[in-house]
């Protein structure tokens, strides 16, 4: 490696930020600036300053002024992480006429002051970090952002309330929307609920009008009973392949009269919508208000498909809409942005065998109870035991099932406390039974939530603080026969208790969809270790992902209640609408590119790209990076055995120069100038 030929001509400005006392409390920032001005002169530094807040307008103006007056050609800012203010300082450089990519932000906050306490050592380390930045910035090249047009259509995956909200916002904004839903109807989990906390609105009453709006909106194309199978392209220009499963119902002819569902002789336990508590037919819509109204034939359970006879639906259909010859269809969509709103799965309480779900009949999951209490559910809203007739006289509701438990999920599922309170209220209201809620901590933090808690307290629900150890039907004491006994340590009373009840409801937590990882891979985004999709920034960019053009909304990002889900749906829509308005987007020019002469087509890099940006040309036996898809992560750059891939902004020269700067000798200085190791030491 040789130094750039233009080294002597570069004029570098170094700016050291105090960040209030965030940096200055641990690092002697004045010393760092003076040192850089005096001791890095031979590396091109012509000015070095320190300032209380470099990111302030005054701090930025200082840089701009120096660029203009001192003719700076490179800028190094020693401050916080590039995640926070890289753009701020790049933009300042740009305003002063310097290409923004000739600015380097080195972190002496996250990487120095916040992680050290020894002021002397932290100051010395800051000098090394600044030296690394100076050496690196010498190798920077001016870069221009890549501009790509944005296709006005948007794909929304998942037709729950998050997807519905996003679809309506974008469609109302005048742009076309495709909404793809795996089930026969949109509506999601919310359509299964009876009441919604804390206001006890009927879920269907507030949801179904939205569903109808989606179904009738001129800008929305609904693709239910469909799944995305392939995603190609990049922000602004995605090509999405959707498999539209055969409904075996001609939707042009079907009028939704549901005669077919009445006549179908095959009854199947509905494990999805009715959570296993009710039945549906082999031809079905999941519920009466389903949107679209068209039923589907469940091929696995249809007598005709399995045995070759029956066709009752076909015989009775008044419009001749049944079509047994329908085939799965593959549809290709062009969209500019994608919103993933694929929701959650309920934690399976079978995984906690000592709570008895699946073994003890009268232990119910939260979703089962939702169906039980739903007026349109299998018991028409009557809260009864598994026998279908007996009303419980006492009910135990267990919180945090599968959540806040290091054996299952460490996270809090957010909704279970309020859900448990809602169940307590409904049980009290409908049956007058004695209700016990077993909780670890009561978390009722959102608007009007705690008031609801107070209300349920006043209604006479009994609250016991303690994680339930066991639910059992093995009676030991008088009065326990024929009951489910809840064994719990009451941590407020400091004693073990056994509470016999008729019914147990497990307020189960939320989990990522079982295929969440595969879906994330399909769309080129990342999951956390738990499986929730990772947002671009946990606070400031909660609905974007690290992949440009892919947004997330609702529980797919993490457990949340309906209001937050709706907020995210709307937020994702706002982000997408903003993009569509801009008509084009400027992409970070930090991209990988493959030197076609050096690439031998070994294909090591081919399946490494998390964004599927690398394509292989069979004819020429070389690989190529699609610059619009590439997000500049550098995976392929590191993996290329031939060194044929380089990353703009992260070239080998830049990285090695930064290392050389960090490792320079005489950084602490006793009068000698800092010097590169390889120039000083004869090995």
């Amino acid at each position: 490696m040789t130094s750039p030929a233009n080294l002597p001509e570069e004029r570098i400005g170094v700016y050291v930020c105090h960040c209030g006392s965030n940096i200055a409390g641990t690092v002697d920032v004045e010393d760092v600036a003076q040192w850089a001005a005096g001791r890095l002169k031979h590396r091109g530094v012509v000015i070095a300053r320190d300032y209380k807040f470099m990111c302030s307008s005054l701090g930025q103006e200082m840089i701009e002024k120096d660029i203009k007056e001192l003719g700076l050609t490179r800028v190094v800012v020693a401050a916080c992480s590039p995640h926070l203010h890289e753009n701020t300082f790049r933009t300042a450089c740009k305003r002063a006429g310097l290409n923004p990519y000739l600015c380097e932000l080195v972190s002496i906050r996250e990487q120095v002051s916040w992680v050290h306490t020894d002021k002397v050592a932290a100051t010395e380390k800051s000098k090394a970090v600044v030296s690394g930045g100076v050496e690196r910035v010498l190798w920077h090249e001016p870069l221009e952002p890549l501009r790509v047009p944005i296709h006005p259509a948007t794909l929304i995956v998942g037709g729950g309330i998050a997807g519905i909200q996003a679809a309506l916002e974008i469609a109302d904004g005048g742009s076309p929307v495709y909404i793809v839903e795996r089930e026969p109807s949109i509506g999601g989990h919310m359509a299964q609920f009876d009441k919604t906390f804390p206001t006890l609105d009927c879920a269907a009453c507030i949801l179904t009008p939205r569903m109808v709006s989606v179904g009738t909106h001129p800008n929305i194309t609904m693709l239910t009973w469909s799944e995305v199978t392939k995603v190609d392209g990049y922000v602004g220009n995605f090509t999405v392949t959707v498999c539209k499963k055969a409904r075996y119902v001609n939707t042009d002819l079907c009028n939704g009269c549901a005669v077919c569902q009445d006549k179908c002789p095959k009854k199947i336990v509905d494990e999805v919508f009715e959570a296993g508590l009710g039945y549906r037919k082999a031809i079905y819509t999941p519920f009466a208000q389903a949107v679209p109204k068209f039923p589907v034939i469940d091929r696995e359970n249809c007598t005709y498909f399995q045995k070759g006879t029956c066709r009752a639906c076909e015989k009775f259909c008044p419009t001749g809409a049944i079509d047994f010859n329908q085939q799965d269809e593959t549809i290709t969509l062009q969209v500019g942005n994608i919103i993933l709103a694929t929701g959650y799965d309920l934690f399976d309480p079978r995984r906690i065998p000592h709570y008895g779900y699946g073994r003890l009949a009268n232990v119910f999951t939260s979703l089962e109870f939702e169906r039980l209490s739903n007026a349109a559910g299998p018991t028409n809203g009557k809260i009864v035991l598994r026998d279908g007739v007996t009303e419980p006289k006492s009910v135990g509701i267990i919180h945090c099932v599968g959540s806040r438990d290091r054996n299952y999920n460490n996270y809090c599922s957010v909704i279970c406390c309020m859900q448990g309170l809602k169940f307590a209220h409904l049980v009290k209201e409908r049956t007058g039974a004695t209700v016990f809620n077993f909780y670890i901590d009561m978390r009722t933090a959102a608007k009007a939530y705690d008031e609801f808690y107070q209300r349920v307290l006043e209604e006479g629900t009994l609250f016991i603080r303690g994680r339930v150890a066991e639910v059992t039907d093995a009676a030991r004491l008088h009065g326990e026969e024929g009951k489910l006994i809840i064994q719990v340590e009451d941590t407020l009373a400091s004693k073990q208790r056994r509470i016999p009840v008729d019914m147990v409801i497990l307020s189960a937590g939320l989990q990522p969809r079982r295929d969440a990882k595969a879906v994330a891979k399909l769309f080129g985004i990342s999951c956390s270790a738990d499986g929730w999709y990772i947002e671009k920034h946990p606070k400031l960019d909660p609905v974007a992902t690290m992949t440009e053009g892919i947004f997330i909304a609702g529980c797919v990002q993490g457990p949340k209640d309906i209001p937050s889900t709706v907020v995210q749906g709307a937020a994702a829509a706002a982000r997408v609408l903003g993009r569509i308005q801009q008509k084009e987007i400027a992409l970070e020019p930090v991209r990988a590119s493959i030197n076609q002469d050096r690439c031998s087509g070994c294909r090591i890099c081919n399946n490494l790209c998390p964004y599927s940006a690398i394509l292989f040309h069979e004819d020429r036996m070389v690989s190529e990076v699609n610059p619009a898809l590439c997000q500049g992560c550098g995976t392929c750059v590191a993996a290329c055995p031939a060194g044929a891939i380089s990353g703009t902004g992260f070239s080998n020269e830049q990285i090695l120069a930064q290392l050389e700067g960090l490792l320079m000798l005489n950084l602490d200085g006793d009068g000698r100038m800092p010097v590169k190791v390889r120039e000083a030491v004869a090995i």
Binding site: M1, D597, R598, C599, S600, G601, C602, R603, I604, N606, N607, L608, F616, M621, T635, A638, A639, C640, P641, A642, G643, A644, N652, L656, I683
Partner: protein, 332 residues
């Protein structure tokens, strides 16, 4: 031809080397006659008798072309490097040892003491007197005897003297040597230009895969096997079959001889253009296509590679960023 009508002078020298480079030069067959016709061979220890003092007596830069093979293992190697640099117009680091340290530089993973222990006190050699090579020894006859000093770290030629060209390979392939000889002769006759100073000559610009005929797919490796334990598919990429083939990281130029014969590339042509650390490149490439996300399984798969340092850095340790392992640096 040179100004006084005499033929340009040719030299070839071996430092820490095996002699294979010399054989490779002779293996250019009748083209060796062109060398003889066009050059005056003034120094070539393997082929003709000559003394170091003869070289010292030559005017500086009087040798037109010097092919220097072998690594810098001891003080004699280094002295000869300086001497031949001074006497030569064009000094070529010839072969893997001179270019990047090759097998001799694998000794950099250990200490000279351990090397001597293995060489002079191992099961194959036991002199019974525990004698080790001494740089200086007063003989009973009253004379001081000198031996070259054994270095702690084997170096490449360009780590001790400036080099005009490097020609990789262990050894360089004869057809490449022939082509370089042709080119130099043409250049001497003014019919061609020499490559720019510092260039890699006698090799290609991409990697061995470019010359390999085997079919290649996206790579996913779930086990490593050794060539002697399997019967490889003759048409499929060896790396995809779990055989550690260094082809993807190794400079092209050899016509992919080893993979064509069913053996994995071992990397003798060294790093591709612009690559600073061959072993690190190859390791990160191989690690990136391990088909598992489970730490224990990854560990198990990687355990299928015996002697990783010797496999990934077989030819390149001396020329790598690391150059040597910690024991070699440490002064015991």
């Amino acid at each position: 031809m040179s100004e006084n009508g005499a033929k340009p002078k040719f030299a070839m020298y071996w430092a820490a080397a095996c002699g294979g480079c010399e054989i490779a030069v002779l293996n250019i067959h009748e083209k060796i006659l062109d060398v003889d016709a066009n050059f005056d061979v003034v120094f070539w220890p393997v082929a003709m008798d000559a003394k170091y003092k003869d070289v010292e007596a030559m005017p500086d830069e009087s040798i037109t072309l010097c092919l220097f093979n072998g690594a810098i293992r001891n003080s004699e190697n280094e002295e000869m490097a300086h001497l031949l640099r001074r006497k030569s117009k064009i000094l070529v680091a010839f072969g893997s040892c001179a270019c990047e340290g090759c097998i001799p530089a694998l000794a950099n993973l250990t200490t000279p003491e351990a090397i001597f222990e293995a060489a002079y006190a191992g099961p194959t050699t036991d002199d019974g007197h525990d004698i080790r090579p001494q740089p200086e020894w007063a003989a009973p006859e009253g004379i001081m005897l000198h031996l070259p000093k054994f270095y702690r770290v084997v170096k490449t030629l360009d780590q001790v003297v400036p080099v005009d060209y490097t020609m990789p390979g262990c050894p360089p392939e004869s057809h490449q040597i022939g082509a370089v000889v042709d080119l130099v002769i043409k250049a001497l006759h003014g019919e061609a230009d020499l490559p720019p100073a510092g260039a890699v000559i006698g090799a290609g610009g991409s990697t061995v895969c470019d010359e390999c005929k085997r079919a290649r797919n996206e790579k996913k490796i779930n086990r490593f096997v050794r060539i002697q334990h399997v019967k490889p598919d003759p048409a499929l990429c060896l790396l995809e079959q779990g055989i550690l083939c260094s082809g993807p990281a190794t400079r092209s130029g050899c016509t992919a001889l080893c993979p064509a014969a069913g053996a994995p590339c071992v990397g003798c042509y060294g790093p591709a253009e612009g690559v600073l650390d061959y072993g690190a490149r190859l390791m990160s490439a191989v690690a990136s296509v391990i088909d598992s996300t489970q730490p224990e399984e990854i560990e198990r798969i990687l355990d299928g590679i015996p002697d990783p340092a010797g496999s990934f850095y077989r030819f390149n340790l001396g020329g790598s960023l690391l150059r040597a392992g910690k024991p070699a640096w440490s002064k015991q």
